[in-house]
């Protein structure tokens, strides 16, 4: 991996503060989706993606960082998702062309 771009001091401090604010949210997300042993990896990889995006010239405003982190957390957590079921693969248990609303 080559990174020709750089992060200046202001951006570095801003990213650190961003990590402070959002680490709990990312951890909560990953803890819901990931296998237990992969949670911390997923959180770290998500922030790494965000940092890489900034280094590549991505926007650094809060809204853009939030968007970037949300997408990164989804991707990294999906890659480390625990098995969907004991069977390990999805089943077509029952055809349920049910009422439109899954109103639970």
């Amino acid at each position: 991996m080559r990174h020709e771009e750089t992060i200046d001091r202001t951006q570095g401090v801003g990213l650190a503060a961003f990590y402070d604010r959002r680490a709990a949210a990312a951890l909560a997300y990953c803890s819901k989706v990931c296998a237990p042993e992969a949670i911390s990896d997923a959180v770290e990889a998500s922030f790494a993606r965000v940092f890489e995006g900034v280094a590549s010239g991505g926007a650094t405003d809060d809204e853009a960082l939030d968007r970037s982190l949300r997408a990164a957390v989804r991707t990294e957590a999906a890659g480390r998702a625990s098995a969907a079921s004991p069977r390990g693969a999805c089943s077509t248990a029952s055809p349920t062309p049910a009422a439109e609303a899954h109103a639970n």
């Binding site: 992060i7 650190a16 949210a25 909560a28 819901k32 055809p95 009422a99 439109e100």
Partner: protein
């Protein structure tokens, strides 16, 4: 499926792919479970991503970086972040301790009956940025197996894992405990009340929908509709036709997710704005109307679905509705009251909820049992009454309405002359028109009120009700909305003109008719055209 769920959440799926995915999710319980986990994760993220979210602290990251082997990402972090040396990065010791080659321990008893094979490190990880890959040969107790060339044994690859120091572990443990406590708290609140985060979001949506409903105002009829309605004979028929016309316009013109009207169910404390549609985004705002059904006033089935656990859980207690309980739907063009007939529990894939109902029947739908979507509960209610709301219907003859109302009142007051001591429904109607409590007994208070009414309407103040007084009463635009103040002076008996006795106040009773509504006689509005006027 997880990757697809993430792509869908990011909006990277085409419409066709989303539909195929939705079809698969309907069929596949496992993937629905995965989708549920992702939804929960999204909510958890939202809950902790606010400005007041708990901060885990940069030292956690610092320790994670310090303790972990350096891979490419950490190298990147080291090179790009550390070169600027913000204060927090100074905590990190970037130098990694040289590690001794790792040897896989072999159990003692594994070596008893065979030549002691050593766990052999075939390949050592060299580059610190590369994952460590080692191949080992495993000892076996069975002598037969020992004859096999070890090269035939499967390769076992081990990846170096992130190893955390005690401090980092402690912090992560605390963070996990905090998250667990939050999730447990949320689960407790959900069981006892409803899911709090989504309830908050639904409440905000309901506020917006209420404003939207008020802003929209009355639906106006087109000139063609006005001419068509004006040609209809009979006030009731014309009023119903007006409501049906306006309902059809609302049904087809209001976009999905927008406010349609309100639904109120007193017995289970429901008072929500109903939106158009029953897709997931619609139901997050509040109860939604099935688009294949109709609106109140159209004389056809009206289907409304709502959540029972999340997003405000408007239909949480829908299973507690009993026969006869009333449900009110208030639309911009009219208010409709339904009475519950029955419940029905059906499978989740039941698709004939509206097929076997006739006429204007309200069908409420929700998941069943609570906290599950395995079945559906349907509540059927029939229309009891309706009244038009909004501006006066064009083409309605307001004078005819006034005449009908006067005739109805005269009919209720009957033919006999009414005097003190008499009882009956005709007395009740007189009392109602005078703004008195309708006891049905012509007592001194009624007599006093009649006298005052006669005095203020240019009639002989005799305290009895004859034809002229009945006509005057029947022509009143509206009866007083509250009973007149009873006389606060002692009453005395006076001989009446017909030889009997009559109770009258010693001074003119302070009977003040309540302020009259500015509405014109016969104006259409709540209650117009009804006997109560």
């Amino acid at each position: 499926m997880p990757a697809l769920l993430a792509a869908r959440a990011d909006g990277h799926l085409s419409e066709g792919d989303r539909e195929r995915m939705a079809a698969h999710l309907r069929r596949c319980a496992d993937c629905r479970a995965a989708e549920h986990r992702f939804d929960e994760a999204e909510r958890a993220f939202d809950a902790l991503a606010g400005d007041d979210a708990p901060a885990l602290g940069r030292s956690l990251l610092a320790e994670m970086l310090e303790e972990a082997p350096l891979n490419e990402r950490r190298l990147f972090a080291r090179e790009r972040l550390a070169e600027e040396r913000p204060d927090w990065l100074e905590e990190i010791d970037w130098h990694e301790e040289p590690r001794a080659p790792q040897v896989v321990p072999v159990p003692e008893d594994a070596l008893d009956e065979v030549d002691p094979p050593e766990a052999e490190v075939i390949e050592e990880a060299e580059a610190e940025a590369e994952p460590e890959i080692r191949t080992i040969s495993l000892p076996r107790r069975d002598p037969a197996i020992t004859d096999v060339d070890t090269a035939d044994f499967p390769m076992v690859e081990r990846r170096r894992r992130l190893r955390l120091g005690d401090g980092a572990r402690k912090r992560i443990a605390i963070a996990m405990l905090v998250v667990a406590a939050l999730l447990l708290g949320e689960a407790g609140v959900t069981l006892a009340w409803k899911e709090p985060f989504t309830a908050f979001m639904a409440a905000r949506s309901q506020d917006d929908l209420t404003k939207q409903l008020h802003k929209r105002g009355d639906t106006q009829l087109s000139a063609a509709d006005q001419r068509r309605l004006a040609a209809i004979d009979g006030v009731d028929a014309r009023t119903k036709a007006r409501m049906a016309t306006l309902a059809e316009r609302e049904r087809t013109a209001v976009p999905e997710g927008d406010a349609l009207g309100t639904i109120s169910i007193g017995t289970i404390e429901v008072d929500d704005v109903v939106v158009q549609g029953t897709q997931a985004p619609d139901l997050r705002k509040g109860p939604g109307r099935y688009t294949q059904t109709f609106l109140p006033g159209q004389g056809k089935p009206v289907g409304v679905a709502g959540h029972r656990t999340s997003y405000g859980a408007p239909f949480r207690n829908v299973d507690e509705l009993k026969t006869g309980d009333t449900i009110t739907m208030k639309m911009p063009y009219g208010q409709f009251t339904y009475a519950v007939d029955r419940h029905r529990i059906v499978p989740a894939d039941f698709d004939k909820a509206f097929a076997d109902v006739k006429g204007e029947t309200l069908v409420l739908s929700a998941c069943h049992p609570l906290y599950s979507a395995s079945e559906r509960i349907l509540v059927y209610a029939h229309l009891v009454s309706s009244r038009p709301l909004g501006s006066a219907p064009p083409g309605v003859d307001t004078r005819a309405l006034a005449r009908e109302r006067t005739a109805k009142r005269l009919e209720l007051m009957g033919d006999r002359n009414l005097a003190e001591g008499m009882t009956g429904d005709d007395v009740k109607e007189v009392q109602r028109l005078l703004g008195l409590p309708p006891t049905g007994t012509f007592g001194p208070e009624t007599s006093a009120a009649v006298t005052e009414f006669q005095r203020t309407h240019g009639l002989p103040p005799i305290g009895r009700v004859g034809t002229q007084t009945k006509r005057a009463l029947a022509r009143r635009p509206h009866p007083p909305s509250r009973p007149p103040t009873p006389p606060d002076v002692p009453q005395q008996q006076q001989p009446s003109s017909n030889g009997g006795t009559q109770t009258t106040p010693s001074a003119p009773a302070p009977v003040q008719p309540a302020p009259q509504s500015p509405r014109q006689p016969g104006a259409t509005g709540p209650g117009a055209g009804s006997p109560s006027g």
